[in-house]
Each structure stands twice: as C-alpha cells, then as structure tokens.
C-alpha cells in the first residue's frame, strides 16, 4: 500500500479501495458467508475450524478471533462485511463503532446524542495531531 491517495489525509478512516480490495478479499468473503444461518452456527461452534475454509493471512485470522474490529480494517476488512461478525455475536453497529473509536459504549452513545463527532479538527490527519498535542 505505497501509492498515496488524496483521501489518505483523512484521519481514522480506512477507504476500501483497490489497495485494500486486493488484500481483503478472502477476509470479506468469509464475513459474507455469515449471511447464511447454518454458517453462523458452524462458525460459533468452532471458529478456528470454520476459518480454515478461507485463505486468511495469520494477521487477518488473529483480528477475527480476537474481534479486533479496528485491526480488521487495517488488513483489508470492509466495514459492511466485518459487521456481520458483530451481528453474529449479537452486537450492534454502535457497539462496534465505540470499540473502533476507543471509547466505552456509553461514552459513544452520549457523543451521538449530543450531535455526533464534530468535523472540526477531524478533517485532516495533521489537524488531528495538532488537536491531540493541544490536549
């Protein structure tokens, strides 16, 4: 993933483009299989054995087994696909969003009720870094 894109300057965002598509195909196709109730049952029964059916990289496999939601995105996961693992676990989109953004479920829900995450200071990676250094 060496070629840079204009949208790479957006902080905390993993655009599912050609670079990630090449890396994430098998991971996302595993997630797709969870649309079938019988597959969800088999996956929950023995996750490691179920994953053997797909050619995941060791890191992709780890992120799935550890439910490292943010990590999945970094190794080619597409959120519309990886969320299916969460549904299988009985989690909601908001549960996963809070985990990816590193806050508690309650804190995240409170932020959304207050109008969501502001774009101010969240448009560019550099600005985000500046905001952090300002505390």
């Amino acid at each position: 993933m060496t070629e840079s894109r204009e949208y790479d300057t957006i902080p905390g965002t993993y655009v599912y483009d050609a670079r990630r598509g090449r890396e994430g195909y098998a991971l996302n196709m595993f997630c797709m299989s969870l649309n079938v109730a019988e597959n969800r049952r088999k996956f929950k029964e023995d996750e490691a054995a179920y994953l053997d059916r797909f050619t995941l990289s060791p890191e992709q496999r780890r992120t799935v087994l550890k439910r490292d939601w943010l990590g999945m995105l970094k190794v080619g996961g597409n959120i519309y696909y990886t969320i299916k693992i969460a549904f299988c676990d009985g989690l909601t989109f908001q549960d996963v969003a809070s985990m990816m953004s590193g806050v508690s479920k309650e804190e995240y829900a409170k932020m959304m009720l207050a109008g969501g995450r502001s774009p101010e200071g969240n448009r560019y990676k550099d600005a985000a870094a500046l905001d952090t250094s300002r505390g």
Partner: protein
C-alpha cells in the same frame, strides 16, 4: 405515457428498520425521528403512485465482492427479503414491475448507461427501510418496486455527476413507456455518517443542511462534490449521498421541495428525508 411525478430522498439506517420491527418507535430515543416521518407517509398515501424506482446500495447481501456492479436494475416480479446476518426483516416480499423494469434496462443501455440486469436477487435494508419509513407497516407494500442498485461499498462509487445523468436518462426512459403510470423515484442513503475507524460517529449538520438546500437551489453544483470531499466532510459512508443525485436528475430542473425532516442521531447517522415534486401535472 408514464411520468415521474415525485422524488423522495431518504436515509436507510438499518436501526430504523429494527425500531419499527420491534415496535420501539415511541421510545424517547426514536420518537422525534418517527414523528417527522408522519407527514411523508400521509403525502405518499395520498399520491398513491403506480410504481416506485428505489435507488439504493446493497450491503453485502445480494452481491458479495465476487461481482461488483456499478449500476444494476432488478427486473424480477418479486424480490425476497435478504438475511443480512441476523435473519430477514419481518416485512412483506417486494413485488417488482418487470414490464417497466425491462423497458428501463433496454432504454438505459441504448442511451449509453451500461446497466447490469438482475433476474433474481434479495433486497436488504437499503431498500426496505425507506419503504418502511414512507409506507409504515402494511401487510403488502402499496405499489410495485424497481430496485436500482449503486455500488458504494468498493471505492470508487460512480461520481455524483454520472449519477445525475443516469437520473436524467431514467426520466427519458420512463417518458417513453406507453402505459400511463405515475412513478416516484427514491434516492436513499446518507446523510453524514461514518461507521468505521477511529473517526466513527462523524456528523456534519452544516454539510447536510447545505446539501438539502442545494437539492432545489443548485442541484448541479452538488454533483461536483468529489468523493474525497464527501468522505472528509460527511464521513466515509456519507459518500452514499451520490445516490440522491440519481433521484434528483430524474426530476425536472424546477422541482419543488414539499417536505423535509432531519434528525440526529439515528444510531451512528444523521437521518434525512426530503420530498420533491415535479410542478407539471400529466
């Protein structure tokens, strides 16, 4: 002759469907959102269109990454409800309109829009939530539906300008269909939201308001918003708003805003609803 009489822009947040399916729309969390849907339901029931074209994106249900159609039209006579990973929504099967759908497919392709044609496919919340929002919970949907899917899952989605032109081609195609049908077109998805990464939860009210205003003030200017600008300003999944341009392009330049409703939050999303009507009556 058939004609497009109105357009509906509507967010398709899955949690909105869940709230309706579980009967929790009256809770303090959802009350404000659903109250704002009432006038739209009354308007649509009164309009009683003969058929709806619903522009939406599939969310890894009908299509996986194996095939990624940029624009697809469903020509089946019925579309079952998809299992999205937690069982299908308990809503009626969607009836299609094969005669108009095939006419659209042929007209659009000959008009240089290279549609993929689907003879069989399930439909997910992207299509059923806007139906639920605007029709409530009937035993059967009040009109047949032509699904028109747009890829927004694999970057890049089609540009806003291309979507607008597809909308214009849809209007031409509808106008060349012999039977007198009154057609509504839905543009779904959005508004600002980000579902992924550390930046999840992003909402941009100013962007959304300007977008809603622009739908009547200067829709062509909106078509020049780049994908990067959508993602930066309206969140990575805010790029779904390109689908609104298909609806807008299918309407007359001077279409009038009849109603709007905007509410934050619906789960992770800013939910928008807008009704536009063509002024001419046929």
């Amino acid at each position: 002759m058939a004609s497009i009489v109105a357009g509906i822009a509507c967010s398709h947040v899955p949690a909105i469907g869940v709230a309706m399916d579980r009967g929790t729309t009256g809770t303090p969390y959802w009350e404000g959102l659903f109250k704002g849907y009432e006038p739209a339901r009354q308007w649509l029931a009164k309009l009683a269109p003969d058929v709806a074209i619903i522009v939406y994106n599939d969310h890894a249900c009908a299509f996986s990454l194996q095939f990624i159609p940029t624009f697809l039209i469903g020509v089946a006579d019925r579309f079952p409800i998809a299992d999205e990973g937690f069982g299908p929504r308990p809503v009626p099967v969607v009836q299609g309109h094969p005669a108009l759908a095939w006419h659209l497919a042929e007209s659009l392709i000959l008009d240089e829009f290279d549609m993929t044609i689907a003879n069989e496919m399930p439909v997910d919340h992207g299509l059923t939530v806007p139906l639920s929002v605007t029709c409530g919970q009937p035993q059967q949907w009040p009109f047949p539906v032509i699904p028109l899917c747009v890829n927004v899952v694999q970057y890049p989605p089609p540009t806003g300008a291309r979507c607008f032109k597809l909308g214009q081609a849809i209007a031409r195609a509808v106008a060349s269909f012999e039977p007198d049908l009154r057609v509504v077109i839905y543009g779904t998805g959005g508004m600002s939201h980000q579902l992924q990464g550390e930046r999840a939860g992003l909402i941009n009210r100013d962007f959304d308001k300007a977008f809603l205003d622009g739908m009547t003030k200067d829709p062509l200017a909106l078509t020049r918003i780049t994908h990067t600008e959508y993602m930066r300003e309206a969140g990575s999944e805010g790029v779904e708003m390109v689908m609104w341009h298909i609806m807008r392009g299918a309407l007359d330049a001077d279409a009038a805003e009849i109603y709007r409703h905007y509410h934050v939050p619906a789960s992770n999303t800013a939910a928008g609803l807008m009704i536009l009507e063509n002024r001419r009556t046929t």
